[in-house]
Every structure is written in C-alpha cells, then in structure tokens.
Symmetry: C2
DNA sequence: CTTGACTCTGACATTGATGTCAGCCTTTAT
DNA sequence: ATAAAGGCTGACATCAATGTCAGAGTCAAG
C-alpha cells in the first residue's frame, strides 16, 4: 500500500510516517516509481509505535526494541524493562516537580486572596 | 553596576540578563562606552523574575505584571491572579497526563514481570 | 604598550516530533 | 492532453530559555 493509505488507516500523518522511517522504525519497499510500498502488516507496526510514543518513549528508544517486540511477547525482550523503569523514574520526578510548583502556586493564590480580603475589610 | 557584577550577585548568567532585557523585563541605562549600567535595585528585580520563572511563568507573562508587582503588593495587581489560575489549571492537566502515563507504565511493567514469572514456572 | 578580563552585538545550537512549503515527478480521471 | 491528486526530497519553523562562539571595542594593571 502507498503512504497515503497507511496514513489514513493508522491516523498518523504522512509526515510522521516518513519520520518514523528516517528513525529506523519502518523500512518500506519501493515501487519502481520510487513510491514507498508498505506491507499490510505495517498497520500493526505503526499502531505499536503509537502505543510506545504514548508512553512517552522516544523514537530512538522504540527503535531499540521494536523489532523484538513485533516478533515476540514483550516479556521476551530484555531491553524493554529497564527502559520502562527509567521512564517511570523520570515521569515520577516530573510529577514531583509539578506538584512542587502547584503547591507554590496555591500558596501564592491564597496569599493574594487573603490580602485582598483584608483590604476589603479595611474599606468596609 | 555592570552586568558581570549583577550576574554574580543574582546567580543569573550574563546571557540570561541580556535576554530578560530583550524581553522587556529590565531596562538598564547605558554608560558612555555602551556598557549596561544597572541600579542596585535591579538585584531585587532579578530575584523577582527568578521567582516567577520558577513558578513556570513565561517571560512574556512576567512582563505583563512585573512593573506593577515591583511597585505594589501582588494583591494590587489584578492581572496576576488570572495568570496564576491559568497556570495552575495547566499544571494540573500536565500532572494528570503524567499520572496517566505512569499508570500505563506500571501496568506494562507488571505484565512483563508476571509473564516472565509464568515462563519461569513452566521451565521449573 | 601590551595583556587579560570584561563588555558589546549578532548569530547559531539545543530538544523532538510534527507542520508546512517549494519544486518536481507520477498517476488517475476527465 | 490536461488537470487534480498524490508521491518524492529537502528544508525551514515550532517552543523558550540558555549556552556558546566570533569579532570587535574597552578598561585596568603591569
């Protein structure tokens, strides 16, 4: 199939499909006219790529285990668990940092509101 | 004072001080030789900028209320509360998204581990 | 007068997946 | 045959604060 059809079936833009290829995630054949020629199985591959991108993994990380995952169950691919765990640690650090900021924002909002309430009291 | 000294006193790089100026956050005078000439009060201004940057606000947002905040109490600056609240909403959305990813990662890690345990059982 | 430490401006790099455009070729439908 | 639709490559833009470099001017101490 051609790239436009694959894009339509996967919901991924033509631009992104070409990018995934550049990152080594998919390797379509070429027709005589130079057009990319995708196997129908590529739909599943792209769905898998989407899944890992949604977990926050980079195309580079995905490239590291995609071939294995497409052939086996995840549990068989030893590379993947460390990646998951590293990502989890990273995500949790980000959450903590955002929670810190959130707390600071709440404090400041409360401070502004109480100062205003005080001013209002003085005026009354 | 010159830019190097201000950088040292505030812990902000020379590069960033010039950037803040470009964004309209600080407007130093110029000496006859073209060197920036900062008032000692600018140390406080830069500390204030750092504070808001740490809350995740952009220089553009900070520019919108910095003058007011430097002259008055925050509560007096009506622009600031909506910005805080918008930022809070944004931060909370990000936290939620990260928590979603975190949950998915935990699920997949657990799945891999249980599949492996099963394989080990079969082998024994 | 020279050297080193500062300063100035302007510009490019960073990060990563995606959007978008230009210029050109191919296919399909009219 | 022509025009529209789609494909190809290559390139720049995005977002934002900061790092870093180049080339040039300034100042202070020796």
């Amino acid at each position: 199939m051609k790239i436009g059809q694959l894009a339509q079936e996967t919901g991924v833009s033509v631009r992104s499909l070409r990018y995934y290829e550049q990152q080594g995630l998919i390797s379509p054949l070429r027709q005589a006219n130079g057009y990319r020629d995708y196997s129908p199985l590529t739909v599943h591959t792209v769905d898998t790529i989407k899944l890992y991108l949604n977990l926050g993994l980079s195309t580079e990380q995905i490239a590291g285990f995609l071939t294995c995952v497409l052939r086996n169950k995840e549990a068989f691919c030893t590379e993947i668990l460390p990646i998951y765990e590293r990502k989890l640690t990273e995500i949790e650090a980000q959450i903590q940092q955002l929670n810190q900021i959130r707390g600071n924002l709440l404090d400041r909002i409360a401070a502004v509101q109480s100062e205003r309430a005080e001013e209002d009291t003085n005026k009354e």
